[in-house]
Subunit: 240 residues, 2 copies
Amino acid sequence: MNLQNIKIVMVGTTHPGNIGAAARAMHNMCFSELTLVEPQCPVGEIAYARASGANAILDNRQTCGTLGQAISDCSLVVAASARRRSLSWPELSPLELADKLIGMDDSSRVALVFGREHSGLNNEEIQMCNYMTCIPTNPDFSSLNLASAIQVLCYELFSRRNAKPAGIKQPEPQDLPAVSQEVDGFFEHLQRVLEISRFLDPENPGMIMQRLRRLYLRSELTRNEINILRGMLTALEKQR
Amino acid sequence: MNLQNIKIVMVGTTHPGNIGAAARAMHNMCFSELTLVEPQCPVGEIAYARASGANAILDNRQTCGTLGQAISDCSLVVAASARRRSLSWPELSPLELADKLIGMDDSSRVALVFGREHSGLNNEEIQMCNYMTCIPTNPDFSSLNLASAIQVLCYELFSRRNAKPAGIKQPEPQDLPAVSQEVDGFFEHLQRVLEISRFLDPENPGMIMQRLRRLYLRSELTRNEINILRGMLTALEKQR
């Protein structure tokens, strides 16, 4: 597991203190890359005070307008979120997440995505992720402080970074994992083909695309597989 | 492991926000008992705001003048601390701590002791504890926020509370662990006897008592053993 290749993505954060505290928590655990998506507050004095010296992380932060941009270069994207009834999405415990990352190629880029202080991530954002991870908590008081959640996950990954791989099956070395941008290209292509074929009604799409996203994201597609799938779609388009 | 019997002890805290954030972190992880030793700030609006609803923990907090009072009913006392050169004290990783607590009798009372924001616990305070536990961190940036350290340890214990005991040897059921007050009584008795016998020079005691504390605290004495040791000391006193 290469902690330098794991970026922490904070979506729509409203309190600068949480951004600073997140930077401190990250630096404590040897993480360095922070990306803010649509931050709702300035990153100034309050954030730097709470960072307690982890200034480089704040200085070098990236800021993006959309979650899609933030994760476009990542081949594994994991949403940190409370469990929810309205959406069933593949879920890893923090320990299972650590096991998965230990087994990954060191050059693969990974994003851990954290939502807003009060409302977390919305369903559309979670559906851009391969997995959800839920920190185990008191069921009667489950909402962790945002920076505390980042602290716990960074701690879990840092403290396990040198553990042995748990024998998770990985793709062959020549078959690299696809990054989020490539997977998105496939989903757009798929949706277009399904709409043209009238399998999907743009006015009334139902849950079909969500179910397909869940299926393919869970599979952690490789580049070769994306190429095969897009080749299929192109052939189906031409056939018409 | 009975989380209700594990108290979180904060020594000399200066920021009320950290006390509130600690209460939130504790409640998130099903801990309930908070003891403040010589707090350096009021527990008011700022603390309650950061507790985010974990008010009961703040309402029911205990406040003590000394660490000795705070831990007097505990049979296992663990200092959360950065590693230090000036003092070698038996050390458990957070995982080893979880394993130890899993193997303990559910009725035994335990204290996890956290020091001041800037200076932590002093050597004398650590020497009142059976063990130190050090959260693994970036060696170049090792100082966690106080509430974050509490969050990490509470998370580690909560998430492992139902794991199987790792086969740590426990005293026989009829041989209950001694509580801190009883162990302290033994240390006072021992020191008195050693001074009377002139083995220990009160003017120039060196490190002898510290080394003896380390030895006996590491052994986690039982009540029967305390009785035997004090019986020995009494016999030695009478012999003179």
